[in-house]
């Protein structure tokens, strides 16, 4: 079975994001970019399936500007076999990403597509669900465990509001990763070197026949109100007294 993983380039999770003074977006100049952590988990899961002999080929796909190729290289260094870069400078919203990924899936015919449950920049949490809808495939979102069965089905355990839930889906299907699915590996130096030789195909939205024009217009981006630090109390007794008599919350 072939697996497709969607990997997104985002501002690194450790960067303190700053809103631009003109309110048009956030500062991205000279800011460290990385693969979205949930996409690392997606890639790791695909690589483990391949190591277990359940998967024959892993294709890593990223959509966006020229630098997204670096993110694909990271996936290749982790163990993906080849990359597809859908190049565009248009702001991509989840519906457009899902349509573009659908076009790639139609060409590649994978048995499984793995995405992150959310990208930590736009926090939309939509793309995987939208992709499976457009394909007419089952969706297994927020996955913390995947078991591929022999009868063209899979059991997926999902992180839900009350705990965990297990569903059975037919293959092909779309899965989105939650934090506890696995711990992604660091790419070793030899694998980083090998990744440089792995192929990355470039495509455009036009070639895929998709119009990626955004449906949502960003009117402005502002900083949320800041919380200021309060006081330090000296003892537990003082804390309880403050909560009772000053804040009046207990």
């Amino acid at each position: 079975m072939k697996v497709l993983v969607a990997v997104k380039r985002v501002i690194d999770a450790n960067v303190k994001v700053r809103v631009k003074a003109d309110g048009t977006g956030v500062e991205t100049q000279n800011v460290k970019m990385s693969m979205n952590p949930f996409c690392e988990i997606a890639t790791e899961e695909a690589v483990r399936l391949k190591e277990a002999g359940k998967v024959t080929e892993i294709v890593a796909v990223s959509l966006g500007n020229a630098q997204c190729a670096e993110t694909i290289r990271t996936a290749l260094a982790m163990g993906a076999d080849r990359g597809i870069h859908v190049q565009t400078d248009v702001e991509l919203q989840p519906l457009a990403v899902a349509k573009l990924l659908k076009a790639v899936v139609d060409k590649e015919q994978p048995g499984l597509v793995i995405l992150g449950k959310q990208a930590i920049d736009d926090d939309a949490n939509q793309t995987g669900q939208m992709l499976s809808a457009l394909l007419g495939w089952p969706q297994a979102t927020f996955a913390s465990k995947l078991v591929l069965n022999d009868n063209n089905t899979a059991n997926v355990t999902r992180e839900v509001d009350g705990g965990l839930e297990t569903i059975e889906v037919k293959t092909p299907f779309v899965m989105t990763t939650d934090l506890r699915l696995n711990e992604p590996r660091y790419a070793s130096l030899p694998n980083i070197m090998k990744a440089k030789k792995k192929p990355i195909d470039a495509l455009t939205p036009e070639q895929l026949g998709v119009d990626p024009t955004p449906r949502l217009k960003t009117l402005k981006v502002t900083e949320p109100p800041k919380r200021s630090a309060g006081i330090k109390v000296k003892s537990v007794a003082e804390l309880v007294d403050k909560l009772k008599n000053e804040a009046k919350v207990i």
């Binding site: 700053r18 920049d121 939509q126 992180e159 509001d161 889906v169 009117l219 630090a229 537990v236």
Partner: protein, 311 residues
């Protein structure tokens, strides 16, 4: 304009998240209908009919809706959506699972986790772990929206007298099946609607030590939460996680014990009314958002807290 709100429920009762979504619908303005898709869900529909400001409840009662499988519920929504200007859901795990699927089938770009309504087509949503508030305007004919419950007050649970209309099931998509669940039963309030939340982090060192926090929580009628580190370490189950990629909470009082205050954690609790931090490191970032900070070893401070609350 008519607005359809997808109910979050357990067939027997309506979850409070729905009440917050109805408030968001009121801010948009128009006739408000609630959709209850469930199995044996008459009681939940009756509860929805009592919610203030709701004019109609649609009940789709079918075994296939028993576990809210996205493929089936999205199909139902797609059939109903053309009658509405907006379709809303609370940004619960179910809402996040179902609504984007319906949106794609309707060729609509969903607007996720709104925290404010500016007008019928313009909304504010937190992005970048809450470090940026983005105002977006939608050009789609029907707007599909998930609502951040903590950003909108709950509408009154009673006072309404809407009619309950039974609607036909949209049929089984036949793509997925519910197999089972592991749900922790607890007498404590639900994390996302509790008035007080007591959370523990990596500093707790073990799941056993969380018993101390449970004692504090029970004294205060609070829910227990955790940082990602505490969940990853297996101290507590996944549904305890508060943060950017866990649950968003905004209680009257949030007590963070042995939690450093990473941005991803703050994203889930910084709108709490009063924040208390107990941490042995006086430079821990959590103190920058805490109203009351106590620099102390939690293994002495928490037992003392229990004693003090017993007084």
């Amino acid at each position: 304009m008519s607005i359809l709100v997808l109910a979050e429920h357990d067939n027997a009762s309506l979850k409070s998240a729905t009440l917050h979504a109805v408030t968001a619908a009121q801010k948009i303005g128009g006739d408000i209908h609630i959709l209850v898709a469930g199995a044996g869900a008459q009681a939940a529909a009756d509860a929805a009919a009592k919610v203030a400001g709701v004019s109609k409840v649609l009940l789709a009662d079918d075994a296939i809706y028993g576990h809210a499988l996205a493929e089936n519920v999205a199909k139902l929504i797609v059939g109903l959506a053309p009658n509405y200007s907006h379709v809303l859901s609370a940004a619960t795990v179910n809402g996040k699972n179902i609504l984007p699927r319906a949106a794609a089938l309707l060729d609509v770009q969903q607007i996720s986790e709104i925290s404010a309504v500016e007008s019928a087509d313009t909304f504010v949503r937190p992005t970048y772990a809450g470090n940026a508030l983005t105002t977006v305007q939608s050009s789609d004919k029907i707007k599909l929206i998930t609502v951040r419950a903590t950003a909108f007050d709950a509408v009154a649970e009673t006072g309404g007298s809407a009619a309950v209309e039974k609607i036909a099931s949209a049929g089984d998509a036949g793509l997925s099946k519910f197999l089972g669940q592991e749900v922790q039963k607890t007498e404590r309030p639900e994390l996302t609607s509790a008035r007080i939340v007591v959370s523990g982090g990596r500093g707790m060192q073990s799941g056993d030590n969380f018993k101390m926090l449970e004692e504090v929580a029970d004294k205060l009628g609070a829910a227990v939460g955790a940082s990602r580190a505490a969940v990853d370490a297996g101290f507590v189950p996944n549904d305890y996680q508060v943060g950017q990629t866990g649950k968003i909470v905004a209680p009257e009082l949030y007590v963070a014990v042995g939690i450093s205050g990473a941005i991803q954690h703050l994203a889930g609790m910084k709108d709490s009314k009063v924040i208390v931090a107990i941490n042995k490191d006086e430079d821990a970032p959590i103190f920058q958002v805490a109203d009351y900070g106590l620099v102390a070893d939690l293994f002495t401070a928490v037992p003392e807290l229990v004693k003090e609350l017993n007084k």
